[in-house]
Symmetry: C2
Subunit: 392 residues, 2 copies
Amino acid sequence: MLTQYYTPTKVLFGEDAEMHAGEQLKAAGARKVLVHYGSGSAVKSGLLDKVTSQLDKEGIPYVLLGGVKPNPRLSLVYEGIELGKKENVDWILAVGGGSVIDSAKAIGYGIYNPGDVWDFYSSKRKPAGSLPIGVILTLSATGSEMSDSSVISNEDGGLKRGYNSDLCRPAFALLNPVLTYTVSPYQTSCGTADIMMHTMERFFHAGKGLELTDNLSMSLIRTVMENGRKALDNPEDYEARANLMWASSLSHNGLMQTGNDQRGDWSCHQMEHELSGLFDVAHGAGLAAIWGSWARHVYKTDSARFALFGEGVFGFSRSGNDEADALRTIEAMEDYFRSISMPVNMKELGIDPTDEEIETLTEKATFFGKRTLGSFMTLEREDIKAIYLAAR
Amino acid sequence: MLTQYYTPTKVLFGEDAEMHAGEQLKAAGARKVLVHYGSGSAVKSGLLDKVTSQLDKEGIPYVLLGGVKPNPRLSLVYEGIELGKKENVDWILAVGGGSVIDSAKAIGYGIYNPGDVWDFYSSKRKPAGSLPIGVILTLSATGSEMSDSSVISNEDGGLKRGYNSDLCRPAFALLNPVLTYTVSPYQTSCGTADIMMHTMERFFHAGKGLELTDNLSMSLIRTVMENGRKALDNPEDYEARANLMWASSLSHNGLMQTGNDQRGDWSCHQMEHELSGLFDVAHGAGLAAIWGSWARHVYKTDSARFALFGEGVFGFSRSGNDEADALRTIEAMEDYFRSISMPVNMKELGIDPTDEEIETLTEKATFFGKRTLGSFMTLEREDIKAIYLAAR
């Protein structure tokens, strides 16, 4: 098959990267910028001041819109679109993590295109373009700083939906690992799990993986696992934070699927979206809570692939019994998740869905009977329900 | 320090990728295209017909310019610039390997900017822009399909000079591994060596490498070594050709240096440029012929890095004696080169420079006393001469 690799985002990585925002916007000819950020830490840390000083220095007018929460809300997106249109902004600068960037992408679609922006997320129609977006990253996790992806939560119905398009790949991303020193241990673990899962969702797919892509994927996951632990041990370990930050971008920019037979599986992501749509849990933790149950449900479809993963990531020797090797690999991954205080089921995640809620999750995950999930193994309604139940 | 990763090239990889040239040029609004190619195989294989049919179908006018030779000549570049200006082309489509792409990049600079294009290659001035370039790749080696690099040979003085700028990164690259089935065993080996060296030049630098970048680099080299051998054993092994092709792009697009303290060493490349400038040898073979002598001259500067490389690429256990491990690694790499029929010295490369020619090579490599080489260890004139002599 034909695969596409397209990552036009200009990345500046390392020392004082965030101090190049004004210069990048100036060079791109920005006339007015919507500076979008989260719930206060960008202000408290002085980062926002650093940003606005640069814009002042370059003589670029701007408006501010803060208040993005994890699982970014459609209501704030609407507010940003209204503000951006009123102020006639032609660029958006996202200062924060994945939620801020995803919110900025949605606002970018909404300003550029007439009509309701939720139409794109609910697959009703496609956008014709988007405002250009710059990023100053403060959290290593979602990879939204280079990805084509944006995920928004609609409070009306508790729906969390993603929309993917090359139109929203950021024009530039400024990555300074020092800005992630203050990320809490819990969020560091959630980020580590999220980064790993972006590559794991791509690694476990039907058909063949290009050997180079497989090997780069397993190298990345191994490196992330080691450095996630190091960042927990010492939050100001520059090397650890740098490895997590760059891995965050590479894990979701398309590199880890190029040449593969398929774009990935993504059923854990889709099942987690319903979980955090309903219970507002952290995305990375939700993924960790589901993965083991998914893996046990599907591994017999291609146990050799799980065994290869165990060899490349954990250094296990192949025993000749792929199913046994696969199970050993799944257990080792759950052990790793536990070692960084990530949950491996919903109880550990702190939620306890009723039978009725399991039905609701299942129903929503199938888009109310309109789709199956996954490619490694195609998951029908009953498979999805069984995985939710096993993960409870 | 701050590093940049910028790879805007849209890559289509896999089945019938070459059949998307017309569609890509149409979408980009190309008005007239210079189709640039090599010395006949693109014609004989029918590839050129496939390209012109697409342009005819899309109604895009074009002019043809073939005849690019390995170590592409400045004289043909001048011819292309004249033709392109006369015909008022606004796009270049390179159909071939690194020499064709590099020649196309030079023509792109020359059409866009007034004055002598050689000025850019001889560091006299910088270009303001370039024509956009599309690529249909037929040889996995130089990585020019995504890189910022172009190397041209000036017949006047036997000078081979490179110029690097983001301006010349191709807009799109169409990568179909099947198009490399007919690459000869010798060119397959040269390509394998070239791909490996693009990452090795970056791996061996002063200062620290980002662990993720180190690990991805060693994974890539290991994968290339295996698949180079497989492609020699079976030239129509799709998987082997696909791994080499994608590795070619990733090895030189900047991925393998992001987050590192420096952009790389590059002294082997610079010494090889003089070698092929004077003797017109194949670039990949020239690199292999020099690398061992370079490595033995410099390894004591940071033998731990060579030992790490041996561990990551050859799976050697660390003995505790880094210098011994480094020497073992250098020998293993030379053994690998021999195993794919690559030379590890100039005799095996088929040349036998006189003492006077060694002086000339040395003099030219220093840009006539104006520069040192390398960053892993800074090479003065006497170091360069010693390496040339050791490689003789």
